[in-house]
C-alpha cells in the first residue's frame, strides 16, 4: 500500500488552531485525494458508477471494481445524501469533493453535475467528470464539454404497485396529453376514475430533459408546454409513491433498471401493456474538453477504458443499466460525443 507522508501533516496540525467549523456532513471516514477522479451528477446512473468504482456482490461472489486494481481511484458522489431518508432535511447535504477543497452542496442531477464542469461561478476544479443521463445541451457543447456513452437505460412509466387507477398501458401520445394538462382523469383514457397525479423529475435532471424530448418528438417536434399541476419528485425514487397519499393516481417516468431494485419491489411497477411508452437512452460521463486527453479519461471512460471493459459489465448490470458494446463489437461504448446528438446505437453486451 502506498503511503503518503502523513507525519508532516500531523506536526503542522498540532501547532495550528484547529477549527472544525468547515466540517460538513461529508463522510469523515473517507476523503478523495487530489489524484482521484471525482464525479457528481445524474441520479439515474449513480449506482453504475458506484459499483464500477468499488465493485458489488454478484450472486455469491464479490466482483471487484476499478479501484481494486487502480492507483488513482474513481470516486462518484450520489445525487442525494445516501445516509438519510429522502424526506430528511439533510437530503441535499454538503460534500467535500477532494481533500482540502471547500465543501459544496451535493449536486443533484445531470444538469447540476455538468454545471460544475463549465458554468462561470459554479465550475469546480475538484470535479473531474459529471454523470449525465441525457445528451449534451447546446450550452454544454458551446462550453466544449465531451460526453462518453457507456450504458443504455430504458425509461418507462411507473405506477404504484399496490394498486393504481391508471390503465394497463399509456402511450406517448397520451403522456403528451397528460403532461400538458389536457387529460386530467384516468377514466378519460380507459383507467379507473381518479384525478391524475403526474410526477416529473426536477429541472436540470437529465431524465427530465430526455423525457421532455420524447414528449416533444411525439408532439410533432413542438416542445410540450408542461402543465403547472405537475408534481416535482426525485427521479427513480420509489419512496415518492409511498409518501404520496394519492399514489393510486400517480405516475412517474422511471428507469426500468431502477424499478428492479429491491427498494422498488412491491412499491412501484412499470406499465408494460401493449403500446406503453418505453424509450432507450444512452447515458454518459461528461468531462471538460481540456481534460479529454488526460490519462484518466482514456483509462475510465474511453472505448479501451474500464467502464467499457468486460470487468464492468456485471457491475453496470447490477446497477439497472446495460453496458454498451465496444466499438470492437460494433457498439458505441466510450466513443466521444461533442454535439447535442444523442447516441442511438444501443448495442449492448
Amino acid at each position: 500500500m502506498k503511503r503518503t507522508k502523513v507525519a508532516t501533516v500531523a506536526a503542522v496540525l498540532l501547532t495550528g488552531a484547529i477549527s472544525l467549523a468547515g466540517a460538513s456532513s461529508a463522510s469523515a471516514d473517507f476523503a478523495p485525494q487530489a489524484r482521484d477522479v471525482v464525479g457528481v451528477g445524474s441520479d439515474t446512473i449513480q449506482y453504475a458508477l458506484n459499483y464500477a468504482a468499488d465493485g458489488v456482490k454478484v450472486g455469491a461472489n464479490f466482483s471487484p471494481g476499478y479501484n481494486a486494481a487502480a492507483d488513482a481511484r474513481l470516486v462518484s458522489f450520489n445525487a442525494l445524501n445516501p445516509s438519510v431518508a429522502t424526506t430528511d432535511a439533510n437530503i441535499h447535504d454538503t460534500i467535500t469533493l477532494k481533500s482540502g477543497t471547500t465543501p459544496i452542496v451535493r449536486p443533484d442531477g445531470s444538469g447540476a453535475g455538468k454545471k460544475l464542469l463549465y458554468l462561470a461561478g459554479t465550475e469546480n476544479a475538484a470535479v473531474n467528470f459529471a454523470r449525465s443521463s441525457s445528451a449534451l445541451s447546446a450550452a454544454e457543447v458551446t462550453a466544449n464539454l465531451k460526453a462518453y456513452p457507456f450504458a443504455v437505460d430504458k425509461l418507462a412509466i411507473a405506477v404504484a404497485a399496490p394498486g393504481t387507477n391508471a390503465p394497463a398501458a399509456i402511450t406517448i401520445a397520451q403522456l403528451v396529453s397528460i403532461y400538458s394538462g389536457a387529460t386530467t382523469n384516468w377514466n378519460q383514457i380507459g383507467g379507473t376514475s381518479g384525478t391524475i397525479v403526474a410526477m416529473i423529475p426536477q429541472a436540470g435532471s437529465g431524465t427530465r430533459a430526455f423525457f421532455e424530448s420524447q414528449l416533444q418528438a411525439a408532439n410533432g417536434g413542438t416542445a410540450v408546454v408542461l402543465s403547472t399541476g405537475l408534481v416535482t419528485v426525485q427521479e427513480h425514487d420509489p419512496s415518492v409513491f409511498t409518501t404520496n397519499p394519492n399514489a393510486v393516481n400517480a405516475i412517474a417516468p422511471f428507469s426500468i433498471g431502477r424499478a428492479g431494485f429491491a427498494n422498488a419491489t412491491g412499491v412501484v411497477r412499470i406499465l408494460n401493456g401493449a403500446g406503453s411508452f418505453q424509450a432507450s437512452r444512452a447515458v454518459y460521463d461528461v468531462v471538460r474538453g481540456a481534460d479529454a486527453n488526460k490519462a484518466y479519461v482514456a483509462t475510465l471512460f474511453g472505448s479501451d477504458g474500464f467502464l467499457c471493459s468486460s470487468s464492468a459489465t456485471a457491475l453496470i448490470k447490477a446497477a439497472g443499466l446495460d453496458q454498451m458494446a465496444s466499438p470492437i463489437d460494433g457498439g458505441a461504448c466510450g466513443t466521444q460525443v461533442s454535439t447535442t446528438a444523442a447516441v442511438t446505437n444501443f448495442a449492448v453486451n
Partner: protein, 544 residues
C-alpha cells in the same frame, strides 16, 4: 502531499488527517494477488473449451491488438482452497517501484468457471491490448513492452488466494499492434486405462493374460503391468490395447495395475486395480520307470541305467537316485522331466535288484520304479562248435485187415418184424493208425461206405451202414496213449456212412505212435423191398 497551505486551511487538513488515518486505499499491487502459484496459463481461441477438452490447436500465443486476445484463459493447476472466482490482471511495470506495488488492470470479468478436474478458467471477454493503461505504458516504452500477466484466484470477497503468472509482450499501442505470450507446455489429453485379467483365479505358474484398454484411440506408447509394486513387464499399445501374458504372479491375492505412460499428446494414467487370486500348485503325482541296458552279461561291464520320470501334470523336477538293493549307485537331478542316465561298471557277479527312486520338488510327489533284476557272471574261456541233425518228416498210415479177397462178413441180415427192415453187424477189428510225422500234428480218422450192391440190380446206400462201439486199445511200448484217442460213434442209418464220418481223433501236441481201434460195423433199416442176394460194399478209411 504538499503542505503549503495557510493556517486557515488547516481546518480542512484536520479532516484530511482523520480521513488518512482510516483510509486503506492504495494502488492495487502484486501483494494483493496472494502467493505466486506453480502452473501454466493457457490462452484458448474458443469460449467453449477448457483444459479438459481443449486441444493444442486451441492454444493461442499471439495476436493483433485489433481483437480480444483470448476467448478463454485457463490454468493447469487447481486454485488454492477457498477460491470461488478468478479474474486476470495485467501489471504495469513502474521504474523504481517495488513490483509488489505496481499498478494493475483487470483484463476480464470475474468468473466462477471450473473444469472437470477443478481447475479454474475464465471465458468472459478479455480486453484488447489497446486497453488504456497498457497502451499508454507501451507507448512510454517506445512501442514495445513486456508486462506480467496474472491469473488471480480469489475468494468470495475478491481477496486473492494466489495467482499464476506469465508474460505479455506488446508491440505497438494501437489496433495495428501485436501481442504475444510464451508458449505453454503442450496439452496432454486425458487418458483412461481399463484392466482385465483372463482369469480371476489361477494356479501358481499358470499363464494369465492381462489386457489393458487405453482410451482415447489415438494414444500410443506402452503399458507397464504391476503386481503390487513389482513390474510384470510392458507391452506396446496397439489399436487401444496392450496385453501381457505372465506366469509369474506371486501366490496370494496380488493387486494388478496397468500404467500407461503417455505420449507427446496424451497424459499418463493408471488403471483401477484388479485382484487375481493365485493358489499354490496342487500336488502332482509321478511315475518312475528304470531301464537297464543289460540285465545279463559279464560282471563289471559298463551298464547304463536310464530313468524316465513322468508327472501327472507338467514335467517333474527333483532328484533321481539309483540303487542296487540298499547301495546307492548315484544321483542325478531331474529338471523339467529330464534326468540324465547313469553309467556304472560297479556291478559285480551275482544278482542285482536295480531301482530308481525319484524325490520331487515343488508340487511333484516322490515315486520309485519297479525293481529290475540283473544277473551278471564272471567271464570264462569260450569254444564254439557246430552240431547238425535232421528231423525226418515221418508219415501216417491206416490199415485194416479186410480186403476184397477176405472181406468182413456181416451176419445174415435179420428182418425186424416191427418195421420190416433188415439189419446185420459184425465186429470190426484192428483198425491200426500209425503216425510218425514230426511236429505232433495229431490226426483225424474218418470212414465212408459206398453203396451195397448184389450184382443183379439190388442195392442200398451206405447210409444204412454204421460204425459203432469204437474204442482204442493201448499198443504196448507205444508213447501214443489210447487215452489220447477220442472215438466218435456213427450209428447206421440215423447217422450213416454215405458221406465220410469221423470215428477217431488224436489231438495235436500229443505224442506220436500207433493207435489200435476196433468197433462194430453194421447195417440197419434196410428196407425189405431189397431183393435177396449177397451184397458187397467198399468201405474207405482215411487218416489225416
Amino acid at each position: 502531499m504538499r503542505i503549503l497551505k495557510p493556517l486557515a486551511a488547516l481546518a480542512a487538513s484536520s479532516l484530511l488527517l482523520t480521513g488518512l488515518a482510516v483510509a486503506t486505499a492504495g494502488s492495487a499491487s502484486a501483494a494483493d494477488d496472494g502467493p505466486l502459484l506453480p502452473g501454466n496459463i493457457y490462452l484458448f481461441n474458443s469460449k467453449t473449451v477448457s483444459l479438459n477438452n481443449a486441444t493444442n490447436a486451441n492454444i493461442v500465443t499471439s495476436g493483433t491488438n485489433l481483437t480480444r486476445p483470448w476467448s478463454t484463459i485457463a490454468v493447469d493447476q487447481v486454485c488454492p482452497a477457498g477460491t470461488t472466482q478468478n479474474f486476470t490482471r495485467v501489471r504495469i511495470p513502474q521504474v523504481g517501484v517495488n513490483p509488489i506495488s505496481w499498478d494493475e488492470v483487470q483484463f476480464n470479468a470475474t468468473s466462477t468457471e471450473l473444469d472437470a478436474l477443478g481447475r479454474s478458467y475464465n471465458s468472459t471477454n478479455s480486453n484488447p491490448m489497446t486497453s488504456a493503461k497498457v497502451a499508454a505504458y507501451v507507448l512510454a516504452q517506445g512501442g514495445t513492452a513486456t508486462l506480467p500477466l496474472a491469473f488471480v484466484c480469489a475468494d468470495p470477497m475478491a481477496v486473492a488466494t494466489g495467482y499464476f503468472e506469465s508474460t505479455l509482450t506488446v508491440v505497438g499501442n494501437t489496433s495495428a499492434g501485436t501481442w504475444s505470450v510464451p508458449t505453454p507446455p503442450a496439452i496432454l489429453a486425458g487418458t483412461t486405462v481399463g484392466l482385465t485379467a483372463s482369469a480371476s483365479s489361477v494356479e501358481s505358474g499358470s499363464p494369465v493374460t492381462l489386457t489393458a484398454a487405453v482410451a482415447p484411440a489415438a494414444a500410443t506408447g506402452t503399458v507397464e503391468f504391476f503386481a503390487g509394486a513389482a513390474s510384470l513387464g510392458s507391452a506396446p499399445v496397439a489399436a487401444g490395447s496392450a496385453a501381457l501374458t505372465t506366469s509369474t504372479l506371486p501366490v496370494g491375492t496380488p493387486s494388478i495395475t496397468a500404467v500407461y505412460s503417455g505420449d507427446a499428446n496424451n497424459g499418463a494414467s493408471t488403471s483401477a486395480p484388479v485382484v487375481v487370486t493365485v493358489t499354490a500348485v496342487a500336488a502332482r503325482s509321478t511315475t518312475t520307470v528304470l531301464a537297464v541296458s543289460a540285465v545279463t552279461g559279464f560282471a563289471n561291464a559298463s551298464i547304463t541305467l536310464t530313468p524316465t520320470v513322468t508327472a501327472s501334470l507338467g514335467a517333474a523336477d527333483g532328484t533321481v537316485t539309483f540303487k542296487d538293493g540298499a547301495t546307492t549307485l548315484g544321483s542325478v537331478p531331474c529338471v523339467a522331466g529330464v534326468a540324465a542316465p547313469l553309467t556304472t561298471n560297479a556291478l559285480a557277479a551275482g544278482v542285482h535288484n536295480l531301482v530308481a527312486e525319484f524325490v520331487g520338488s515343488g508340487p511333484y510327489t516322490n515315486s520309485t520304479s519297479a525293481v529290475v533284476e540283473a544277473t551278471y557272471e564272471n567271464e570264462g574261456a569260450v569254444d564254439l562248435q557246430t552240431v547238425v541233425v535232421t528231423i525226418p518228416q515221418g508219415s501216417i498210415t491206416i490199415t485194416t485187415p479186410y480186403t476184397e479177397g477176405a472181406p468182413l462178413e456181416l451176419s445174415e441180415a435179420v428182418l425186424d418184424p416191427t418195421d420190416s427192415t433188415y439189419s446185420a453187424s459184425a465186429p470190426f477189428e484192428n483198425i491200426v493208425i500209425t503216425d510218425t510225422r514230426a511236429g505232433q500234428l495229431g490226426f483225424t480218422a474218418s470212414v465212408m461206405s459206398g453203396a451195397f450192391t448184389n450184382g443183379s440190380g439190388g442195392s442200398f446206400s451206405g447210409k444204412h451202414a454204421g460204425l459203432t462201439g469204437v474204442a482204442a486199445t493201448q499198443v504196448a511200448g507205444n508213447a501214443l496213449l489210447a487215452t489220447q484217442v477220442t472215438p466218435t460213434q456213427n450209428a447206421p442209418f440215423t447217422v450213416g456212412l454215405a458221406t465220410p464220418k469221423v470215428f477217431a481223433t488224436h489231438a495235436a501236441g500229443t505224442t506220436n505212435g500207433t493207435a489200435h481201434l476196433a468197433g462194430t460195423f453194421g447195417i440197419d433199416q434196410v428196407p425189405s423191398s431189397v431183393t435177396t442176394g449177397l451184397y458187397t460194399a467198399t468201405v474207405t478209411f482215411t487218416a489225416v
